[in-house]
Symmetry: C2
Subunit: 162 residues, 2 copies
């Protein structure tokens, strides 16, 4: 299982690996991995949680890397369209991808208590959704799958008997 988000893990390692993967991908595809874009990705990787665009912007501003919303949104657009970062529609927030460079359809488990987000894989063309699409002649290009609920930690604290 490659779900990441609710367990402890080698954080520095996963950050370094993700940055390296993104760098390689950009070099290979002749994409400009500029300082602002890199910094936004670093912020998201190091926080390892879903962050709003303005929250990211605050950090950029503190570092003198741009102070207006378009700076953050442009960097996020780049990162999202290349699959390095995902947008969580439900939270209007962004989170670094846990396996950048690979082509995939992310699915998210979002804790309503602590806002922790875990990334899993979805297979939208399979299952009932794919069948419904096929039946009606709809062509799926991209899918958003977000489950709200309680993460293991928060479930414990709600049922303290455990």
């Amino acid at each position: 299982m490659d779900t990441i988000g609710f367990e402890a893990h080698d954080h520095k390692g996963c950050m370094r690996a993700a940055l390296a993967a993104v760098e390689a991908h950009c070099t290979r595809h002749k994409l400009q991995f500029t300082p602002v874009r890199r910094r936004v990705l670093e912020i998201l990787l190091s926080e390892h949680r879903a962050m709003g665009a303005y929250e990211i912007l605050d950090t950029l501003r503190d570092e003198g890397l741009g102070s207006q919303p378009p700076v953050a949104y442009r960097a996020l657009d780049f990162l999202v369209s290349n699959g390095f970062v995902h947008k969580i529609e439900r939270l209007n927030a962004f989170i670094a991808c846990t396996h950048p460079g690979q082509d995939h359809t992310p699915a998210f488990l979002i804790c309503r208590q602590c806002d922790a987000v875990a990334e899993a894989h979805a297979e939208p063309s399979k299952g009932m959704l794919g069948r419904a699409a096929a039946d009606t002649g709809f062509t799926i290009e991209q899918a958003v799958v977000e489950a709200m609920g309680l993460c293991p930690q928060c479930r414990e604290s709600v049922h303290p008997c455990a």
Copy 2:
């Protein structure tokens, strides 16, 4: 298949049926189906498409049923929390449920060209998402499933050879 949205259908009939079902549900559960709430649902049913809150509010205002955002948002909150209307996160918009009263997890097929939306069923606890949740101890309470793509009509117009 109970997907609705890309085919012609008895529009007046589906509107009457939905209103009746909602009325029955409200009576049974002692919920207040007030004029504003009813009108918002009627607007969504009659347009039969995803609408923004402010777009709905414009109509309410024209009819003297309230002019400030909270009026629309409160009615929408009521309708959404009782499953009569769904929110399309991807569009920040709302759409009337095609089978109100029944307990269900909706999934949507959204055309990126014409913004038509079809509602299907999802089964979030099954498939990879359910497995990922079970593996990590996450409890799914509610899920958002939204597929973007091209509806049959728009696919035709993109490939005019058909």
